[in-house]
C-alpha cells in the first residue's frame, strides 16, 4: 500500500470502476459528476470516501481537487487502484488523505462504512 497523503477520517464509500477526469466532469460548486457516460453520473462525491481506479485526462484536474476542497464539496479521502499525478498532487495540496492499493480497491464496495488513519499499522478498518 502506498500512502500518498496522510490523514485520519471516517465515512461511507462511494466506488466507481471507471477512472475520473476531474476537470470538466466534476462540478466544483456541488461535487456532482456531470459526464453522462460516467457510472457516477449525477452523484455527488462530497464527503464520501471516493474509491476509483485513477484520475485521467487533464492536468488541470489538480486545481479541481483543490477547488472542491475550498468549496467544501470534496471527498473526505480517496482510495485509488493506481497512482496518477493529477490526483496525487491535487490531494497533496488540498490535504485530502490518499491511499493507493490494487487489492484494497478491488475489495471495497459502495455503502461500506470505514475508518481511516494513516498513522496506524492497519490504516483502514471496516465499521
Amino acid at each position: 500500500m502506498k500512502i500518498l497523503v496522510q490523514g485520519k477520517t471516517q465515512g461511507t464509500i462511494l466506488k466507481s470502476n471507471t477512472p475520473i477526469n476531474f476537470l470538466g466532469t466534476v462540478d466544483k460548486k456541488t461535487g456532482i459528476i456531470s459526464d453522462k457516460n460516467h457510472e457516477l453520473y449525477n452523484k455527488s462525491i462530497k464527503n464520501s470516501i471516493l474509491v476509483f481506479p485513477s484520475g485521467v485526462g487533464s492536468s488541470v484536474g489538480a486545481y479541481t481537487i483543490y477547488s472542491i476542497k475550498s468549496n467544501d464539496t470534496a471527498p473526505l479521502a480517496m482510495i485509488c487502484q493506481k497512482a496518477d499525478l493529477t490526483v496525487a498532487t491535487g490531494c497533496a495540496l488540498a490535504n485530502i488523505p490518499l491511499l493507493v492499493d490494487d487489492k484494497l480497491f478491488s475489495s471495497l464496495q459502495t455503502g461500506q462504512k470505514i475508518s481511516l488513519d494513516t498513522d496506524t499499522s492497519n490504516p483502514l478498518t471496516l465499521l
Binding site: 476537470l23 470538466g24 487533464s58 489538480a62 486545481y63 476542497k69 497512482a83 496525487a88
Partner: protein, 384 residues
C-alpha cells in the same frame, strides 16, 4: 524517494512556505511514480491558467503564492479564457475578465513567459534530444515524449508548477527508458485527423504509462496533434512509440468497431450551430493549409479559429488572416476551444469540430452537443 539535505530542509519549511509547498507536491509526485530521487529539469510548461477551469480557489491560490514564488527555469504557459483584442464581442462578464487578468498577472509576477499556448512544441525551439522537461498540458507532454525526444511525466498543473519553482522533478520510469507492455494495432484504412484523434482517445483508455502503436504510416502535423490531444484526454498515458515493440506485448486492435465506439461516445449531434477549429491550437502550417482550402469559399455559419498569438502575428504578415477573415472566420489567440468560456449552451445547442479533445470538454464542461467531422468534410459541408 531519497532527498538531499537541502531538499529535506525545504520540505521541513526551513526555506519558506513556498518551497515547502513545492517539495510536498514533488514528494507526492515521486511516491506516485516510484522515483528514487529528484533530477534537474530545463523547461516547465504550466496548465491552470483559464479562469473557467481553476475558478476562484485557483485565482486566490496563484495570487497568494505569486507574492513570493519565482520560477527557476524557463517556464511557459497554457491558454487562458479569452483574447483581449476581441473579448468585448463575446459577452463575458466583468468579473470573469478581472479574475482572468489577475491570474495572468500572478503568472507574470512569478517570471513565467505569457505564451498562452497549448502547443509549446510548435512555437518554441526544442532543446537537444533527451532533455528533461516538465509539461503539464496533456497533449504537449505526450507530444514532447513521442515526437520531440524530450522526457516528461504527464505532469499535473501542480507538479509542473512545483518543478518550475524548484527546477526539479522526480526521476520516474517515464523519464528513463520506459518500455510499454501493450501494443495497439491501427487497422483503420485511409485515416484522417479525426481517426487519429479517436485512436488517441482509445489508446489513452487502454494504455498505462506508455503504449506501442503499429500501422501508423505517415502522419502530418494535424494528425499527430489530434492523436496527442485524444490520448491526453482519456487516460494517464504519457507516451507512444511507433511500431510493434517487444513481441511479448499484449496486442489490441483499433479497427472500425473500436473507432465507432469512440465516435458514439463523443458525437451527439447531426449538425452544429457553429464550428470551432483548434484544440490543440492551430499552428502556422494548419492555418496555411486552411487558408488554401478556403480559397474562393466562405463559411455558411460562424467559425471560430484558435491559435497562439505568435502564430496569429505570423499569419497576419503572410496574409492568411485576411484570407480567413474574408471566409468568415473569427481568429482568436491566447485561448483555445478546450474549456472556452466563449461558447455557452445559452447561445448554441451544438458545435461542429474535428477535435476529439475539444469534443470531450465541449460536451462535459460546456454542456453543448457535438458534431464530429474531419476538416475536409467541414469545408465541404459548411462552406459555399
Amino acid at each position: 524517494m531519497e532527498l538531499t539535505k537541502q531538499e529535506e530542509s525545504a520540505l521541513k519549511g526551513e526555506q519558506g512556505e513556498i518551497m515547502q509547498m513545492a517539495y510536498r507536491i514533488l514528494v507526492a509526485t515521486g511516491e506516485a511514480t516510484d522515483a528514487e530521487k529528484l533530477i534537474p529539469i530545463e523547461w516547465a510548461h504550466l496548465s491552470g491558467v483559464n479562469y473557467n477551469t481553476i475558478g476562484d480557489a485557483g485565482e486566490e491560490f496563484l495570487s497568494g503564492i505569486s507574492k513570493n514564488a519565482r520560477v527557476k527555469v524557463r517556464t511557459t504557459l497554457n491558454p487562458m479564457g479569452f483574447d483581449i483584442d476581441n473579448v468585448s464581442k463575446y459577452g463575458l462578464d466583468d468579473n470573469f475578465i478581472s479574475k482572468q487578468l489577475s491570474i495572468k498577472n500572478s503568472y507574470e509576477k512569478m517570471g513565467v513567459i505569457p505564451s498562452f499556448s497549448c502547443i509549446p512544441y510548435e512555437i518554441f525551439d526544442i532543446p537537444k534530444e533527451g532533455t528533461q522537461v516538465a509539461f503539464a498540458e496533456s497533449n504537449a507532454a505526450i507530444h514532447a515524449n513521442s515526437y520531440d525526444n524530450l522526457k516528461t511525466n504527464k505532469e499535473s498543473a501542480f507538479s509542473a508548477l512545483a518543478s518550475a519553482i524548484t527546477g526539479k522533478s522526480p526521476y520516474s520510469s517515464i523519464r528513463k527508458d520506459d518500455t510499454p507492455n501493450l501494443t495497439i494495432r491501427m487497422k483503420v484504412k485511409n485515416p484522417n485527423e479525426l481517426t487519429y484523434g479517436m485512436l488517441g482517445f482509445f489508446a489513452g483508455k487502454v494504455g498505462d504509462t506508455s503504449v506501442n502503436i503499429s500501422g501508423l504510416g505517415e502522419m502530418d502535423k494535424r494528425q499527430c496533434k489530434a492523436m496527442c490531444g485524444g490520448m491526453g484526454t482519456s487516460g494517464t498515458c504519457a507516451k507512444f512509440l511507433f511500431g510493434d515493440g517487444d513481441p511479448r506485448c499484449e496486442k489490441v486492435d483499433f479497427d472500425q468497431k473500436e473507432m465507432q465506439n469512440v465516435y458514439d461516445e463523443l458525437n451527439t449531434a447531426e449538425k452544429g450551430d457553429l464550428i470551432t477549429l483548434g484544440s490543440p491550437q492551430l499552428g502556422l502550417d494548419e492555418i496555411s493549409d486552411l487558408a488554401g482550402k478556403l480559397k474562393g469559399r466562405s463559411f455558411k455559419k460562424r467559425c471560430m479559429i484558435f491559435c497562439p498569438r505568435t502564430v496569429k502575428e505570423q499569419a497576419r504578415k503572410i496574409g492568411y488572416t485576411n484570407e480567413l477573415e474574408r471566409a468568415g472566420c473569427e481568429i482568436l489567440s491566447d485561448c483555445c476551444t478546450c474549456l472556452t468560456p466563449l461558447i455557452s449552451k445559452d447561445d448554441v445547442d451544438s458545435v461542429t469540430t474535428n477535435s476529439i479533445k475539444g469534443a470531450f470538454y465541449l460536451k462535459n464542461s460546456n454542456g453543448v452537443n457535438v458534431n464530429l467531422k474531419s476538416l475536409s468534410q467541414i469545408v465541404e459541408d459548411e462552406t459555399r
